[in-house]
């Protein structure tokens, strides 16, 4: 064993213990019944359960809506932040990014309290507001990053070739900032699919998301069914991440 690979050992142990092993366990549990026999029953149960499918669809719907709202709000915000004419201070950027530093649970609890104080009826509306509030910085940051680093000469070249400021934006700046948008989508969509705490606090458990069901099953020791549901969710997240792999350049993202 060479020296360099020795250094990698702690990471390898970490990966095996906390990534590979849990994944294997999830897969094993998902295809077993309570007494350890191989079965597809967990999956057939899920696909036959209208309630579970409904929750699953709702989760996807909420995640898509949340992501869409985050793009609509986050892109212009990132654009303004990256525009030196409009934003002359680095402080504004920090103000936008700061919520990322605060624990999501704290923020969610605070938001729930705020709704309570304002007397707003908890429901899907409050859920979306809370989610957007939680995830918006994760959309703004990668987009801001890529817009900020974009060579100004592209916009100048487009203007020089006859593009109005609006055309410069749509035909050059937007396509060139897509890697940032994709990064943002990854960071918003994936966690929203699996969230459960936000829906619990912000709808008083009126609306159940997929993450909530998984949590409930596991809490009530339905390990095998919970594992199967987790696997379904992992597949969805895996499909989303293909979006990223298809684009050759994601260098502008948050990583």
């Amino acid at each position: 064993m060479t020296k360099r690979s020795t250094w990698a050992l702690p990471y390898a142990i970490f990966l095996v213990l906390f990534v590979a092993l849990p994944l294997i366990l999830i897969i094993l549990y998902a295809f077993q019944d309570g007494s350890g026999n191989f079965t597809f029953a967990n999956f057939t149960k899920f696909f036959r359960d209208a309630d579970a499918i409904g929750t699953f669809a709702l989760s996807l719907e909420v995640a898509i809506e949340n992501t869409a709202i985050c793009i609509l709000l986050g892109y212009p915000a990132a654009w303004i932040l990256a525009n030196k004419k409009l934003n002359k201070s680095a402080v504004t950027i920090v103000l936008f990014i700061m919520p990322m530093w605060i624990n999501a649970l704290m923020r969610t609890l605070a938001t729930a309290e705020l709704f309570h104080m304002l007397g707003v009826q908890l429901g899907k509306g409050t859920l979306l507001v809370g989610m957007v509030y939680d995830y918006l910085p994760f959309m703004i940051y990668p987009i801001y990053n890529i817009l900020d680093r974009m060579d100004k000469s592209y916009a100048e070249a487009a203007a020089d070739l006859g593009a109005t400021p609006w055309q410069v934006f749509w035909k050059v700046q937007v396509p060139l900032s897509m890697p940032g948008v994709i990064s943002g989508v990854m960071m918003v969509f994936m966690p929203t699919v699996s969230t459960f705490a936000i829906s619990e606090f912000l709808t008083n458990n009126k609306i159940k998301l997929f993450g909530t069901i998984i949590q409930e099953n596991i809490n009530s020791s339905m390990w095998n069914y919970g594992a199967a549901l987790s696997l379904v969710m992992l597949v969805i997240i895996g499909i989303t991440s293909l979006l990223q792999d298809n684009k050759k350049e994601v260098s502008g993202g948050i990583v």
Partner: protein, 462 residues
Amino acid sequence: MKGNDYIIEFKNICKSFGDKCVLNDVSISVKQGEFLTLLGPSGCGKTTLLRMLAGFGSPDSGQILINGTDITDVPPHERPVNTVFQRYALFPHLDVYDNIAFGLKLQKVPVNEIDTKVRKVLKMVSMTDYEDRDVESLSGGQQQRVAIARAIVNQPKVLLLDEPLAALDLKMRKDMQIELKEMHRKLGITFIYVTHDQEEALTLSDTIVVMNEGKIQQIGSPTDIYNEPQNSFVADFIGESNILNGKMVKDRLVEFVGHEFECVDEGFGEDVAVDVVVRPEDIYIMNRLEGSQLSAKVKSCTFKGVHYEMFVDTDKGYELMIQDYNAFEPGSEVGLFIKPADIQVMHKERTCNTFEGEIVDESHVKFLENTFECPEGHGLEAGDKVKIEVTFASVELIDHPEEGMLAGEVHFLLYKGDHYHLTILTDDGDHLWVDTNDVWDKGDLVGINIAPKDIKLVKYND
């Protein structure tokens, strides 16, 4: 101002970035179809001027006209010019074809017409069959060609080129120069070209505008600029030259390197200090002394391919550079001869440093934002405004900036045969000119001292 045949007119353009003046009263007129080059060292304002023409950045004062119409406030996308950017700025999300078609698509040109035009320019820049290539997979030279194609496909009235060849290697640059010249001939449109490469400027241009520190130094054809530089900056920047202090004795007679020479210049007056430029290839060098104007001793001789480059010490101790097809052995005594027409006499921009100042007390005067000791007995009151004169040779430069009364940086240097003439930029942004025998390099940080006896106070007549 319609009715003249100028396609572009810059009128009294001034521009500052903060405290720094980058363009100072620049006026240029460009004829239809001309190949005009803005030439100068980096930071001379040439790119700022070009960008203004494209619409990126507006002048603080002055006007830009295209075909007699003021376009100073017209946004870039409405100007009839296209630019080839220095680092090409090709759109990485589009392939070669779509990069070139970008402008035409914006103009809503019919698809089949776009196709014809794109293929035509691709052929013109020898990039046929590259339509579908990703621009990032192209070499520097190929990207350059696509950038040119993308600009000329829109048939602009004026093509702007911002150091387009700077990123290419020497061989490629030479080839592209020839192609650009050919393209200019074929297209028949006006080219405005920005470069810091004097050879490139001489090769390509119909007209060269030499710029330095935001000011136009000279406008003229390549031969004018080369043969008749108007000041020592132009003479030094364009080609190799011997720049020497001289004295115009009378019309058609000039003295330099300790000898009098016949020349063709008139109207300078008698006994007037001038700068003299002699190109190294214009000095005749021979083994005998009869028929020569002065004698010299060869110091070094280097083979340069086409010619030999020699440095000689003249009988009065001046160093001259000479280029000749024949080699002369170092150490040998030679005779030199310069024809009257090959001596270029120029007005001196200044003969000593002059500053505006104010008397502080009996023995102190304030100028260049510092207080200097000065000779007593000037008989002026504290607070009086005075002109201060300091000769070039009496300014002392020292190695350590912190030990001088002023600190500065060597900004520009000129060898004048027996001494260096330096332009020093002080930390406060003022200029100071110094004659010295010490060897300094451009960018050296120096301390500046002026002895009290060398400060000459001149009272204003009011």
